[in-house]
């Protein structure tokens, strides 16, 4: 009985139309490969040519394997290689790796062990990727509640130490309060970071409520169609604010798995264009924007 319920729970996130699932799985893995491969290169550019040898080798391998993975016949082997190299980098950087590096590892493992050509395995791959997406979204919101820095806008106020948060968050604060918070440099004795201004507090609380709420709405098949666009909009807003473009692209690609039609495949070109822009920015060819 319990086992049957567990199986049903896993099946809860199956797509509405099995006919599009193959193309969707292909599109999802392709977008992931181009984002993942480019991410390693873009992160290496500022450290070049002083990048330590293990990282140089990792970047070269990740690039080659990401390109190889675009060919369907080599995909699973490429994903296995990507998982191994990425795991090695996680090990080298432990415990400092970002959470999204773990998400990427899980996706690499799914791509390595599950065969998209096999209908049952494809179903499991998409199911697992959707579950991962809901878990990340829900727990991101829940962690904000548990640790208690979002009820009075403390965390957002703290982020004002970074200049790139100021144009947007500044719109929510009266001038004197904005100046008070911007004057802090997160040194011992700074504060209080608590904010009384209502619009700021509402936005702060809306973030975790939306994260948790949208995760639940995405999980329920009936409410899924209405939750996808707001979830994408929330991801764009958060990741654009935090300038975490690579996590935004990986997570946005995962969110597209919840749309009725296959949107992952057509997303390849806009994603490729964004990545080309990020490479150009990192090379100093276009503008100067900080991002991770």
């Amino acid at each position: 009985m319990t086992r049957a319920r567990l199986v049903n729970a896993f099946a809860f996130l199956d797509g509405p139309d099995p006919a599009v699932e193959r193309r969707r799985a292909d599109g999802f893995l392709t977008v992931f490969l181009i984002v993942f491969g480019t991410e390693y290169v873009v992160r290496a550019i500022p450290k070049w040519p002083d990048l330590p040898i293990p990282y140089t080798v990792s970047v070269a391998l990740i690039m080659a394997l990401s390109v190889a993975g675009l060919r369907r016949a080599w995909r699973r082997t490429a994903f296995l290689g990507l998982a191994a190299v990425h795991l090695h980098v996680l090990w080298l950087e432990f415990p400092g790796s970002a959470n999204h590096a773990y998400l990427e590892l899980f996706i690499c493992l799914l791509g390595a062990f599950l065969d998209v050509e096999h209908p049952e395995e494809r179903r499991h791959l998409l199911r697992a990727a959707r579950w991962l997406t809901c878990l990340v979204l829900f727990y991101s919101g829940l962690a904000k509640v548990v640790h208690g820095y979002w009820f009075h806008g403390e965390m957002l106020a703290h982020q004002l130490k970074f200049s790139y948060y100021r144009p947007v968050l500044g719109l929510l604060l009266p001038g004197t309060e904005f100046e008070r918070l911007v004057a802090f440099t997160a040194q011992v004795g700074d504060g209080p970071y608590r904010v009384e201004n209502l619009p700021f507090v509402v936005v702060s609380n809306a973030v975790y409520l939306l994260e948790m709420g949208l995760a639940v709405l995405l999980a329920v098949r009936r409410t899924r169609p209405v939750a996808v666009l707001p979830a994408l909009a929330l991801t764009v807003a958060i990741e654009a604010g935090a300038r975490e473009f690579f996590f935004g692209l990986v997570f946005g690609n995962a969110l597209l798995l919840f749309t009725r039609r296959d949107t992952n495949t057509p997303a390849r070109w806009p994603v490729a264009a964004i990545l080309a822009l990020l490479v150009a920015i990192r090379l100093g060819l276009v503008g100067r924007i900080h991002f991770t």
Binding site: N99, H118, A128, W131, A143, H147, Y149, M155
Partner: protein
């Protein structure tokens, strides 16, 4: 690998990922682990931890007051940095054992060691940035022993 084994592995992975974040939140609360790392999905749930300093004290076999270590050698500084890089994210889940061994090697006259780390931390109740102090004693201090 058969389909059944793969299916079981995927289910196990998802189950672990479902259960890990609450455990992670507990480790953050009780061991000062960073919410930002280790796949607990707590990024941006709290300000990033920032180690702001470390002090090392030692006491000779005769007893008396602790003396502060000054002018640490490059080898000790390397060990200290290696520990702080871990401590910043793992909090009290990590101990400076290798660093303590390196100190003992340079100061064999010290019978007891105390390594103190300082980290800036925002108090959720007040929204103030305060200094959080963590002490590591070698040998470990008995609960009733005064500082």
């Amino acid at each position: 690998m058969t389909y059944r084994v793969k299916r079981a592995c995927v289910r196990l992975l998802l189950l672990v990922l479902l259960l890990w974040p609450p455990v992670h939140a507990g480790l953050v609360s009780f061991y000062d682990l960073s919410a930002w790392k280790l796949s607990g999905w707590g990024m941006y749930s709290q300000p990033r931890p920032k180690d702001v300093g470390m002090e090392v004290y030692g006491r000779t076999a005769g007893g008396g007051d602790y003396d502060q270590l000054t002018n640490a050698s490059p080898a000790l500084q390397t060990e200290a940095n290696a520990f702080l890089a871990q401590h910043q994210w793992l909090g009290r889940l990590t101990r400076p054992d290798a660093f303590a061994a390196a100190i003992r090697h340079e100061r064999p006259d010290w019978e007891a060691l105390r390594i103190v780390t300082f980290r800036s931390h925002m108090e959720p109740d007040t929204g103030m940035i305060v200094l959080r102090r963590t002490e590591f004693d070698y040998p470990p201090r008995a609960p009733e022993e005064p500082r």
